[in-house]
Amino acid sequence: MPKPEEVKYTKTHEWVHLGAEAAVGISDHAQHEMGDVVFVELPKVGQKLEKEKPCAVVESVKSAFDIYAPVSGEVTAVNEAVTGDPALLNQSPLDKGWLFKIKTSNPAEGETMMDWAAYQEFIKQAAH
């Protein structure tokens, strides 16, 4: 399980654990803002994703949220557990609530994303 400090964050509140296979999920802040997650629609294994394009949907009781691919690449794995038990996104957004893994086609894309400190600052700014 990656620590919150070990992953990078997007402005659309996804986290990505960079590596040959990049794991993607939603931030703890995001799950808190969404409220109870009740439905998750994931991309398919083998699907090609493009950075910043919507590729999954997370629905809370209140509303629907698009999930954007943090990096480009091919989906190598999806977390079937969250489709069966969407509450995992609330309970464990960085671990059991991961969404999918991408074989990144352009590792350099990860470098522009926020680290933990920058993301905290980003949330604080957005709140004002």
């Binding site: 409220g35 109870d36 009740v38 439905f39 629609e41 949907v57 629905e59 809370s60 009781v61 209140k62 509303s63 629907a64 609330n90």
Partner: protein, 373 residues
């Protein structure tokens, strides 16, 4: 109008924040959408007890020799059913039989009525009542700014009220009793918008925060939780209750909503009656119809298809925490779809299988016939 600085606040605003309410703009009112979470709050109300600030709701008092006459004229339901100490759920209609509002009209005494109106429509209702009174001997007062309201909802609530308001326990559904609470004149009714048994307390602002704390204390043994508008919406939609402005408005009639039982054609004349007589004879062209999904969460505005052809769109839709499925209601053409009929709902550009479902989707304890007996 809807900038953050102009939001109306209820007298409970600070208490809602203290309890962790996540505040949102609800039609110009700053109200809590949730506290611990919609699912937890929803479950608490279905299984035990929940507390809601519903002070945005309006109170219009109609008094005088012609109070009954006026209310009978502007309502679809028969006010003769509302004997002193009782209320009726009713629709206030315009000349086209569209809804000015949906209300609960309580008879406090033969010449004294309390009408609980929606937040967004209280001024409109008040003006409408006045315009229809003409020369009738009636006083109409919009006291929405003078009263707060707390809804205490759930199967454990009668037990909570055993010492607090024993006289309220004998009330039937839609019954009302006037009672001094903390030195102030209050109204306690056996009503609510959740589908569960419970009460709504209309009280002046001066005691409302103290009353909230007292009810939280009384509910502690039952695990009472503060609830927001999010749970209020999932609870009411499961119960098939209408949301004015979303499910019904000035341009839809009572028969089209499927609430025909609210219309008393035989009570004598009332506004919009001729249109309703005609609609009853000819049948409606569209009807608010329920459906249940196999997957995904439908939202207001989603299109509904049958055999590839669009038959309507959803007015209200959400995830049902009780059924653990998506549910929704919308005006469908044809109006006589049978429960179980296969339809499809378009969600994010994809068609999801659904079936026509009888409303209410879920019957809580409020649907028990022997309440108060």
């Amino acid at each position: 109008m809807s900038t953050a600085t102009t939001l109306s606040r209820t007298a409970l605003n600070e208490t809602m924040r203290k309890y962790g309410g996540k505040m949102v703009d609800f039609h110009g009112w700053e109200m809590p959408i949730q506290f611990a979470g919609i699912l937890k709050e929803h479950e608490a109300v279905r299984k035990s007890a929940g507390l809601f600030d519903v002070s945005h709701m309006g109170q219009v008092f109609v008094t005088g020799a012609d109070a009954f006459k006026l209310l009978q004229k502007i309502n679809t339901n028969d006010l003769r059913k509302a004997t002193p100490g009782k209320g009726v759920y009713s629709h206030v209609t315009n000349p086209n039989a569209g809804l000015v509002d949906d209300v609960i009209a309580f008879c406090l005494a033969a010449d004294r009525y309390l009408v609980i109106v929606n937040a967004t429509t209280s001024t409109k209702d008040y003006e409408w009542f006045k315009s229809q009174a003409g020369k009738m001997l009636v006083k109409i007062e919009n006291k929405s700014d003078d009263y707060s309201m707390i809804a205490v909802q759930g199967p454990a609530v009668p037990k909570m009220f055993e010492t607090f308001a024993p006289e309220a326990l004998k009330l039937p559904r839609f019954g009302i009793v006037e009672k001094d609470i903390m030195g102030e004149h209050c109204y306690v009714s056996r009503t609510g918008y959740t589908g569960e048994d419970g009460f709504e307390v209309t009280a002046p602002h001066s005691i409302i925060n103290q009353l909230w704390e007292h009810l939280m204390e009384l509910g502690k043994p039952y695990g009472i939780v503060p609830c927001g508008l999010g749970a209020r919406d999932t609870l009411r939609l499961e119960s098939g209750y209408l949301l004015y402005g979303q499910d019904v408005d000035d341009f839809h009639t009572t028969y089209e909503t499927g609430y025909g039982w609210v219309v008393s054609l035989d009570k004598g004349d009332f506004i919009g009656r001729d249109i309703l007589v005609k609609q009853k004879a000819e049948g409606v062209k569209r009807r608010l119809t329920g459906l249940t999904l196999t997957g995904g969460v439908p939202r207001s505005g989603c299109k509904v298809f049958m055999d590839g052809k669009q038959i309507g769109e959803l007015a209200s839709a959400t995830y049902s925490p009780t059924l653990k499925k998506g549910i929704g209601v919308g005006y469908m053409v044809p109006p006589d779809l049978k429960p179980g009929a296969a339809v499809e709902v378009e969600i994010h550009g994809k068609l999801v299988k659904a079936e026509i479902t009888r409303v209410p989707f879920h019957k809580g304890t409020a649907f028990n016939k022997n309440i108060g007996a």
